[in-house]
């Protein structure tokens, strides 16, 4: 075992896969000798050189779109988008090129690539360095969307993504980069895409979350436990495909579900999950599925008081869970 941060887990996954497979390469803004603005690519340029760790111009459409072309030719690109707030600039190659290449060619061309996107708030980044935006990708057939919350999952999922044969959106919550650390195995391991993970078993209600919110939910669960509310915490990890079975099994057991995410309420991932739970486990539900999310405003206003107001946090989760438990 070794103790690593979330960030180090991501760097290790890339380094190990690049050693393992000559086809893997990295491109993005400042990813080269500088090692990325958050240091996620630290050391890669030294070890693998500028041919495989490519500093691009400020060109999000190229960063993704050239990745699509390289993937089509048999490479395994990892394209980095510095902030999810700017993924909008590379939106066409993500949702129209990468996601649809296999389908539109009847399987003749494929697009095995990973698009790493740094996202998330609670870091004082203001309106353009805090967005999550998973719902931009969540509704796109052809994409896999991953959103890990622990170093183990981050490393294991990123490796699965690199080895897989599909375009993967890999969402890295920047608050987790240095704030979360854990022991992970020394040896090579992967985590399967498409599977949720029960991070805390429980019986009273099911709380579904991912990324930073997963941690807030775990904190809340500890507090709730003190008053006899035993929450089962499901870490979604994969948003597309998402693990219906694990979620439904849990909700069938507890009869109550709360979904927590950082993105605004309307049009967020939570709506879909709530809808599916209701469709498929209606008779098991003792209460309507609840959501706790950011409010319907552009994420995330800068002034600290407003950012705090915006973010779902432990206190809000505890309150919402208590109400649901009492329903």
């Amino acid at each position: 075992m070794k103790n690593v941060t979330f960030l180090e887990a991501i760097t290790e996954a890339m380094a190990e896969e690049m050693r393992r497979d000559q086809r893997v390469f990295v491109m993005g803004e400042d990813v080269g000798a500088y090692g990325g603005v958050f240091k996620a690519t630290k050391g890669l340029h030294d070890e693998f050189g500028g041919e495989r760790v490519i500093d691009t111009p400020i060109s999000e459409e190229l960063i993704v779109g050239a990745g699509v072309g390289a993937a089509a030719m048999g490479m395994r690109p990892i394209s980095e988008i510095q902030f999810s707030d700017f993924a909008s600039c590379g939106f066409d190659p993500i949702v129209e090129q990468a996601a649809r290449l296999r389908y539109r060619s009847g399987g003749g061309w494929t697009c095995p690539m990973v698009i790493r996107i740094c996202c998330g708030g609670e870091i004082g980044g203001g309106l353009y360095h805090s967005q999550t935006n998973e719902n931009w990708f969540f509704g796109t057939p052809g994409l896999v969307v991953l959103a890990p919350s622990t170093p183990y999952d981050a490393k294991g999922l990123l490796k699965s993504a690199i080895r897989g044969d599909d375009p993967v959106i890999f969402l890295e919550h920047k608050k987790l980069y240095r704030w979360v650390r854990a022991d992970i195995p020394e040896d090579d391991f992967t985590v399967p895409m498409g599977r949720a993970d029960i991070k805390r078993p429980g019986t009273t209600l099911t709380i579904i979350a991912y990324q930073l919110m997963l941690h807030r939910v775990l904190e809340a669960a500890d507090i709730l436990a003190k008053s006899g509310i035993d929450a089962e915490v499901v870490d979604l990890r994969s948003l597309r495909p998402w693990d219906k079975e694990t979620v439904l099994d849990s909700v069938r057991k507890t009869g109550k579900a709360l979904i927590v995410h950082e993105s605004p309420l309307t049009g967020g991932v939570g709506g879909e999950i709530a809808a599916v739970i209701t469709e498929e486990a209606f008779e098991y539900l003792d209460a309507p599925v609840q959501r706790l999310t950011g409010p319907d405003v552009p994420p995330i206003p800068f002034a600290p008081a407003m950012e705090e107001f915006y973010m779902p946090d432990t206190r809000k989760i505890v309150a919402k869970a208590r109400t649901l438990a009492a329903y």
Partner: protein, 352 residues
């Protein structure tokens, strides 16, 4: 709009051997006759969707593609039919796509007029104008990384050069001296919008000046000029000297698609370009040089027409896709099957 202004810059036939020049005629006339046949089929309601004719632009498409080897790549836009078949896409495969059959290269999925064929390294493009230029640039990056001696030919209309994607791609290719040739077919119109409303520049090859590599504007209706200019660019690219932007001045004879009457352009403009019919021009060259007689050409036409009819017969015999094939080829895996019976336990070492 002015006519093609550029003069042939290279000695005709200097590098195209006699045999090549004969072969070029075959490809040129095949592109023309196939295209006209497709138009007729569409007008007869023999296939659904739409059809983008490239008649009038065959010299640019054929001349550019004739220099390519099997491992070279084409990143197509939507009006270079001659390039795809010159590169080796079987007519029946094209016809199957138009007819949206199950054994079409796209299995009936895409759009009738955006052709791809992985077997010959022809990218299957989106309809998104200019996306093929970005994706093609990434293909050139892969060739470079794989240390292959091959090149990418990326096609684009003059209209498509206005998109930002064009800028990002060419800028990147310039920095890395990628083995790619951008072939811009300037046919003076993008749907109803004239080239002078696409940009204030009059030579679209001037766009290359913003990226630090060479740009040429040539007579796109002169088959040998196109062939030779592109071949030289390919040689430079193979030698590691980086990209080239080649603007081929040409003209589409028909509407943007078969339902466009194209009455935004003057009859005079069309007439002046029909006088510069790339097929007639090349036939004149063959006559003048005596490389190929009219009788020989007629034999080729007969052969080509037979090929085309055979392709139609083959395609019409192909099955339609089953409705449920709509669910195939979204992922490498079946999403349902990927779901686990049970979530995995929390990893050793705890969470935080």
């Amino acid at each position: 709009m002015a006519e093609a202004k550029a003069k042939r810059q290279t000695d005709p036939g200097m590098s195209a051997s006699k045999e090549d020049q004969k072969a070029l005629y075959y490809h040129l006339i095949r592109a023309r006759r196939f295209d006209e046949r497709c138009r007729r089929l569409f007008k007869q309601g023999r296939f659904p969707g739409t059809y983008f004719s490239a008649v009038g632009q065959e010299a640019a498409a054929v001349g550019a593609a004739f220099g390519l080897g099997p491992d070279d790549v084409i990143a197509p836009s939507h009006r270079e039919l001659g390039a795809y078949i010159t590169k080796g896409m079987p007519l029946a495969a094209l016809m199957r796509q138009l007819f949206a059959r199950a054994d079409s290269p796209d299995k009936g999925k895409s759009h009738p007029c955006h052709f791809g064929y992985p077997e010959i390294n022809l990218l299957t493009p989106a309809s998104t104008m200019t996306a093929q230029v970005v994706v093609g640039t990434g293909m050139a990056l892969a060739l470079r990384m794989q240390k292959k001696p091959n090149v990418v030919l990326a096609f684009i209309g003059e209209g498509g050069t206005s998109r930002g994607a064009f800028h990002e791609a060419l800028n990147f290719a310039g920095i890395h001296d990628l083995p790619i040739i951008y072939v811009c077919l300037n046919n003076l119109w993008a749907e109803s919008v004239p080239a002078y409303r696409q940009s204030r520049i009059t030579k679209f090859s001037d766009r290359a000046k913003a990226y630090g590599f060479a740009g040429f504007t040539i007579d796109g209706n002169d088959l040998l000029t196109v062939y030779q200019t592109v071949r030289e660019a390919i040689e430079r690219a193979r030698a590691g000297s980086g990209p080239t932007l080649i603007e081929c001045l040409t003209y589409r004879w028909y509407g943007h698609s078969e339902i466009d009457p194209a009455n935004y352009r003057s009859a005079d403009e069309l007439e002046s370009w029909k006088k510069r019919d790339p097929v007639a021009l090349y036939e004149r060259h063959l006559d003048e040089t005596g490389i190929m007689s009219q009788a020989e050409r007629e034999k080729i036409i007969t052969q080509v027409d037979a090929e085309i009819e055979e392709a139609i017969t083959l395609a019409e015999a192909s099955p339609h896709p089953e409705a449920k094939e709509a669910l195939d080829d979204v992922y490498s895996f079946s999403p349902a099957a990927n779901f686990p019976a049970r979530a995995q336990p929390t990893p050793p070492g705890g969470l935080t």
